[in-house]
């Protein structure tokens, strides 16, 4: 395509053609590639997006079929949908925990002193916590919800006064060693948040809180 327009207008027309969507594959890809390296051109594109955005109202609304969200969640989180199948997951997890409890009971030396189940309304996640105060070990298990594909779980002690204290990061089921300064007892509140890989960068929870629970004597 030969151009008789002066360059700024030619660039602006190209940006408009890109936003309209009329270019063929080769030209479209070239324009998208240019926007990645040429900031001025990228700005022209976003100005045209704003110029034309009010045409968006002409699209109206069409509810998508239900299975689309199920597929999105499966691809992003590898998890079944929250409702419906959730009770199966929770049921299976409970069976595993009960079996674990049974095995624990047969071995007196590792019996925990404190337990909690962490969950939250509207959250797909549930965790169990078992604390052995003598060995200063804390066992975490993921009962429901998917392991994060991007990031990690972090367990927090929420004191009545003061800032949450990190007890460590874990994947789906891990034993955490309690630091010497950590004091856990019946009625201590624990919470799990989702944090970037390696744990909260700030030392305080930054991601969403997935589950909360209170420790109780076994």
């Amino acid at each position: 395509m030969t151009e008789s327009m002066p360059t700024p207008d030619a660039d602006d027309a190209l940006a408009a053609e890109y936003v309209l969507g009329v270019l063929d594959d080769t030209e479209r890809q070239a324009a998208a590639q240019r926007a990645r390296t040429d900031a001025a051109f990228a700005v022209r594109i976003s100005v045209w997006e704003t110029h034309l955005e009010n045409l968006n109202n002409d699209y109206g609304t069409q509810p998508p079929p239900k299975h689309v969200k199920v597929q999105i969640d499966r691809r992003l989180f590898g998890a079944p949908p929250r409702r419906g199948l959730n009770w199966i997951v929770t049921g299976l997890a409970t069976a595993v925990v009960l079996l674990g409890l049974f095995l624990f009971q047969t071995d007196q030396s590792t019996q925990p002193d404190l337990r909690a189940q962490l969950q939250s309304d509207g959250s797909a996640y549930a965790f169990s916590v078992a604390v052995d105060l003598d060995d200063r070990l804390l066992e975490m298990a993921l009962l429901a919800g998917a392991r994060p594909t991007d990031g990690t779980f972090e367990l927090w002690l929420i004191p009545e006064n003061g800032a949450p204290q990190s007890l460590g990061i874990f994947a789906s089921g891990d034993a955490l060693t309690l630091a010497p300064q950590v004091r856990l007892s019946a009625s201590s509140t624990l919470a799990v948040s989702l944090e970037p890989s390696g744990g909260s960068p700030t030392g305080a929870p930054t991601g969403p809180v997935l589950a909360v629970g209170v420790l109780a004597d076994v």
Binding site: R28, N54, P63, L76
Partner: protein
């Protein structure tokens, strides 16, 4: 800002929370915006299964790229629709799909504009309409239909029964006239 539903988080804050990997915000955004985004995908793809694929890709991109949203630069709904339009048009162009029959384009999408959005944008929309009206009728129509339906130059040429290079020349001129008009009349 007048907020009609203060209890509901707006799309901007949902996108910000998605950038923090908040799945509940993601679910809420899907509930709030998927209808508008699916309408866009359907209108451009003109095929339900393909529109579903585009919607799926779009939400995966939204989850992954939510940190690139800049609230000061774009309206949240425009940012979301741009993601869907770009995915849909990329997909069509990648295989140079043949021109879709006109009747399909018409029965597929809901013609009703989203009422609350339309009301809030009446003024800006009037400005765009006024500037489109300054163009010849078929040129305004070409711009509008290219944007809404995702037509390529090839398809516009067939539709307006005009050689591709002619269409391209007058569309580019019309776009620049539209720009000049919008920039003159904007406050």
């Amino acid at each position: 800002m007048n907020r009609t539903q203060p209890a509901q988080p707006d799309l901007e804050s949902l996108i910000a929370r998605i950038a923090l990997r908040d799945r509940r915000a993601f679910d809420q955004l899907y509930a709030d915006a998927s209808g508008r985004l699916f309408a866009v995908a359907l209108r451009i793809m003109k095929d339900r299964a393909e529109a579903e694929d585009v919607l799926q890709e779009a939400f995966i991109r939204i989850w992954q790229k939510s940190d690139s949203f800049r609230p000061g630069q774009a309206k949240a709904i425009s940012w979301l629709i741009t993601i869907v339009r770009n995915l849909a048009i990329d997909k069509l162009r990648a295989r140079q799909m043949p021109v879709a029959p006109m009747e399909m384009a018409q029965d597929i999408a809901d013609e009703n504009p989203t009422p609350e959005v339309e009301a809030s944008n009446t003024e800006v929309r009037a400005q765009l309409d006024a500037c489109l009206e300054e163009l010849e009728v078929n040129r305004a129509e070409a711009i509008r239909s290219a944007y809404i339906e995702g037509y390529s130059y090839q398809e516009l040429a067939a539709r307006f029964d005009t050689p591709l290079n002619t269409i391209r020349t007058w569309l580019r001129r019309s776009l620049l006239r539209l720009r000049n008009c919008l920039e003159q009349t904007s406050p």
